[in-house]
Symmetry: C2
Subunit: 227 residues, 2 copies
């Protein structure tokens, strides 16, 4: 099935795998004005409900850019695939859909954390990262880019304009450039080049820090701006 390409869209469609949560719905809401977005789920009904909710929140013409379907179908229709789930299910899904993910551009905002008292610490060593683990599962020819770790999901899934935040993007060109351009399409977000995927642990670690700042400083939803 050929999808409608919006005039100013950069990709044919963005698939938000496991995108029924706040991160997925938030990205759908923010990208729909410029891109076709597909909320994916293991359950068709959940995907369709989430898409309907986003369409209602959006209103206007761009609501037509949001659809819900099975993860498997979402992958087929998109050329950018975003994993909106936790690391372990993301790795399982990547293994199962390895063939259909081949040749797609993959974006990983995944962060693996564990609790330490009331705070959070990164689960993975600096020698790896969620994005690298995904790339390992998908194989050498995969094009995995890491980014969007540090924008709180609740901030994305809101009708309020986003503040002025940085999004550090890791990976190889030209895939990284495409993602940086897609980040620029979301008002308020400013992409920065963070280097190769091997460096993506730095933004995964930052996410633990942001959560701790929220816990320790009587305010939720910290994000970050580098300047």
């Amino acid at each position: 099935m050929k999808v409608h390409v919006p005039l100013d869209g950069i990709v044919s469609a963005v698939a938000l795998l496991g995108g029924t949560g706040k991160l997925g719905r938030g990205l759908a809401l923010r990208w729909a004005p410029k891109e076709r977005v597909i909320i994916g789920s293991r359950f068709r009904g959940k995907a369709e409900d989430a898409a309907a909710e986003v369409r209602q929140t959006l209103g206007g013409a761009s609501a037509g850019n949001v659809r819900g379907m099975l993860n498997r179908e979402a992958i087929e229709e998109a050329d950018l695939v975003v994993f909106c789930i936790k690391l372990e299910p993301a790795l399982r899904l990547a293994k199962r859909r390895r063939k259909s993910l081949m040749g797609k551009l993959i974006l990983s905002p995944v962060v693996a954390m564990r609790r330490k008292g009331n705070l959070r610490v990164p689960k993975l060593k600096p020698s790896t990262s969620a994005a690298l683990r995904l790339a390992n599962v998908l194989g050498q020819r995969s094009r995995v880019v890491a980014g969007l770790h540090t924008i709180p999901a609740a901030m994305l899934y809101s009708k309020d304009p986003l503040g002025d935040y940085s999004v550090v993007v890791y990976g190889e060109q030209p895939a990284k450039g495409v993602v940086m351009q897609l980040v620029r399409e979301i008002e308020g977000l400013h992409p920065l080049d963070g280097g190769p995927l091997e460096m993506s642990f730095l933004s995964e670690y930052t996410t633990a820090l942001l959560l701790n700042l929220g816990i320790l400083n009587q305010r939720r939803g910290y994000s970050v701006k580098y300047y």
Copy 2:
């Protein structure tokens, strides 16, 4: 020797150990309007020259708040001691001056990094940090606080007003609260509680990220704001 305590100063004096570089001179410049600051060095002449330079840059009444002397003497006169040198010399100095550092409030902005290609990566594992290593050398009863990792020295040592930046501070109360208050004395800097010293690797890691952003994004001197 009794030092003059400025009316609105929080500590009797701040010692900037190895403070003849940009970090030390920068902190002297920024704290002198409110605090007595002492630039320390292994060489009396170097310390005095650096202090003279800062006094000249400052001008006005607060210039009188800046002196230069040997590290050993600086420790004696201050109740807050900042290590403005790299990790290995900092650990050697801490070992040598362990006794006189006892009971002092210690601030570590130290970050250990190594090169990886043209980029930087943290040298220490997340299970430790420069500040924790310092605390280990100084013993259980030491009061080590970590902070000021992410403000570029060249930004501090400038007559330009500082931008609006965050300073995450790690350690135990009440020591951490004193340092947070001292950070607030520098216009533009906003302290945030980062939790215990065990979490200070997070801001040491952030410093590597900031340097990489400078290398990769055609701009020097990135700092960070969390909000």
